[in-house]
Structures are given as C-alpha cells and as structure tokens.
C-alpha cells in the first residue's frame, strides 16, 4: 500500500547530517522523494524560495538561525513564499518553556527526539486528517494553538485570554 504523497515536496532543516539522512529515509518509505535539505535556518529560507516545499521538518537548535526564528520567518515575513505551510518541529529540548516557544512561533506539530517512524507518521497523519485553522492577531500568526475548537461554538469562553487566539465575532 502506498500513494497519496507522489507530488509532495518536503524540506528537512537539521544541522546533524545523520538525522537528515534518517528523516529522508523515513519520508522515502511513505513515497515522498522530492526532498530538499538545509543545515540551518538561513539556508532553509533559500530552499523554501527555490523549491517551494509542501511540508517542513525542522530541528529547533541550530546556528546561526534556529528553528524558532526560521518558523517566525515562514509565518510572518512578507517575503515568505507560504505562511500556511505545515511545520513539524523535531527537538530533543522538550522542556515546557521550549515547547511553548515553539507553539508561539507557529509550529504545526512537535516531535520529540529520539524519533520513531510511527511518531513521525502520526504527526503527518494529523496534518492530513485534521488540518488546523489559522489565527491572525496583533501578536501571532499561525495554526490555532487550541486544538479542540468546536466548530460554530460562540462562547461563553472560559478565560478572557481565549479571545486573543480565536475570532469571536
């Protein structure tokens, strides 16, 4: 059984060449073969512009431009080729404040290292099966950070801050 990914283009942003090779092999196994690679954020921006990928897998800790800065560029820069592109951030830094920073930068999914094939595939399935709505407000543009939004729900909201993230008009 294979199919569905023939035309998908992916970009892997990771400073560890071994991890890049492993991620490429895992993507290959589901039929994704058009894959660009970059070792850090600056090079990834260039690849984004030239290759126009449909999916990004990015590491968090890289130099000189890390995965958070790269994600903020993708979501917010006026030159970004696709601010809506799904971004899976792959990181060994799973402390709460780092997870929150990734979420606030606008990542779509987070994947903890060490990676497994099933975890990677479940993140991709989540993007396919349950695409996230996007939210634009003064301080944020990116996937809705609240996952379980009920369609058509008009309130009442549990917290006043809820209104920062979701259109309540």
């Amino acid at each position: 059984m294979s199919g569905g990914f023939e035309y998908l283009k992916a970009l892997i942003v990771e400073d560890n060449s071994h991890m890049r090779a492993l991620l490429r092999a895992l993507l290959n196994s589901v039929g994704i073969t058009d894959i660009a690679e970059a070792a850090q954020g600056q090079a990834a921006i260039e690849a984004l512009r030239l290759r126009r990928p449909d999916l990004v897998l990015t590491d968090l800790a890289m130099k000189p431009m890390d995965g958070l800065e790269f994600t903020r560029y993708v979501r917010n820069d006026q030159n970004s080729p696709n601010p809506f592109i799904p971004i899976i951030m792959i990181t060994g830094h799973t402390e709460k404040h780092r997870v929150e920073a990734a979420r606030d930068a606008g990542v779509t999914e987070l994947l903890a290292k060490p990676i497994t094939a099933s975890n990677l595939f479940s993140r991709i399935a989540e993007i396919v099966e349950r695409p996230r709505a996007f939210v634009r407000c003064d301080s944020y543009f990116g996937p809705d950070r609240r996952r379980h939004r009920t369609e058509g729900y008009g309130g009442p909201w549990r917290r006043a801050e809820d209104m920062e993230d979701v259109d309540v008009r």
Binding site: M1, S2, G3, G4, F5, Y7, L8, N16, H18, M19, A21, L22, A25, L26, N28, S29, V30, G31, D54, L55, A61, N82, F84, I85, P86, G92, H93, E95, K113, P114, I115, A117, S118, F121, S122, I124, A125, I127, V128, E129, P131, R132, A133, F134, V135, R136, C137, D138, D144, A160, M163, E164, D165, V166, D167, V168, R169
Partner: protein, 162 residues
C-alpha cells in the same frame, strides 16, 4: 463588581480557506499509506539500515564527550546530541544515561549552581561504557540508569532543584 474584558480582534482562517498540504482526494490514500503495514516495514528497514552509521556517529560523540573534560557547555551539547539519537543507533542505555546527565545539568543551571564534576564524570563514564559495549544489555542498562537517576534526583533535591 464590573468585569471588563478587552476584546482583541483576531482573524480566524478555516482550513478550507487556505491551500492544504494534500487535497481531500489524495488525503484518504495518504492516510492509508501512513497506516499500512508495508510502509511500517519499509520504515523499520530504513531505521535498521541507518543504525550502523548512527552508531559510528555516537562513538565519535563519545570520544568528544570524554575530551570535553571540564568544559561543561561542550559536555552538555554533546550529551544532548547523544541523547537525541543513541536509541536510533540501537544504543538505548547510552541515550538514557545521556538524558539523565542533560536533566542534571539543565536543572543545576536553572538553580544557578555548578554541576558536581564527580557526577558529570560518572555519567560520561557510563555513557562511554554503554556505547562501546558489544551489545546493548537492556537489563544492565536499566539498572545503571536507575541508579544514576536516583543519585541525580537526590543531588538535585539537595541543590534545591526539582
């Protein structure tokens, strides 16, 4: 009491209002692909094929870890790399011990205290021993990791960290 809320306008963009990674037609096939046993087998084979290369990389990292000596920033960075993919290299024990070392160093930094060189040294030696072992002995690894974890938890509590 009057509760006043300041409504911040936010634009909500539904998934069907922007281009999706995969269209609905291909989406069904894509999900079947991701869940198929055939693909799972291919992925397992890909992981196994990469394990020797990853093992060599971990052994290089172990050498660098031993050479890092008292350079704590370097020790942390290398231990973190080992923690990140030792398990993918079939070196679960080395990865587990590296994770404990990272937790110890991270927490000590959080409470602004210097990590004890003896504790760091114990972990570095355990990582090196586990990585260079012919085979990853899961039972022994679990025991070593369990003891180091208990030691680190005790030291962190004494230092006022978690």
């Amino acid at each position: 009491m009057t509760v006043q809320t300041i409504e911040k306008k936010a634009e909500f963009i539904a998934p069907d209002a922007y281009p999706q990674m995969i269209g609905k037609q291909n989406g069904v096939r894509a999900l079947q692909t991701l869940q198929s046993e055939h693909v799972a087998m291919k992925a397992r084979a890909a992981m196994e094929a990469h394990a020797p290369m990853l093992r060599d990389a971990i052994l290089d990292h172990v050498e660098a870890l031993e050479e890092a000596g008292t350079d704590l920033a370097q020790t942390f960075a290398i231990a973190h790399e080992i923690r990140n993919f030792a398990e993918n290299a079939g070196m679960a024990t080395a990865g587990r011990v590296a994770e404990i070392l990272c937790r110890y160093m991270d927490e000590m930094e959080r409470v602004k205290k210097a990590p004890e060189p003896a504790i760091v040294g114990l972990h570095v030696a355990a990582i090196a021993r586990a990585a260079r072992a012919e085979e990853d002995d899961a039972k022994m690894g679990e025991m070593v990791a369990g003891q180091l974890n208990a030691l680190v938890s005790r030291r962190l509590a004494e230092a006022g960290a978690r």
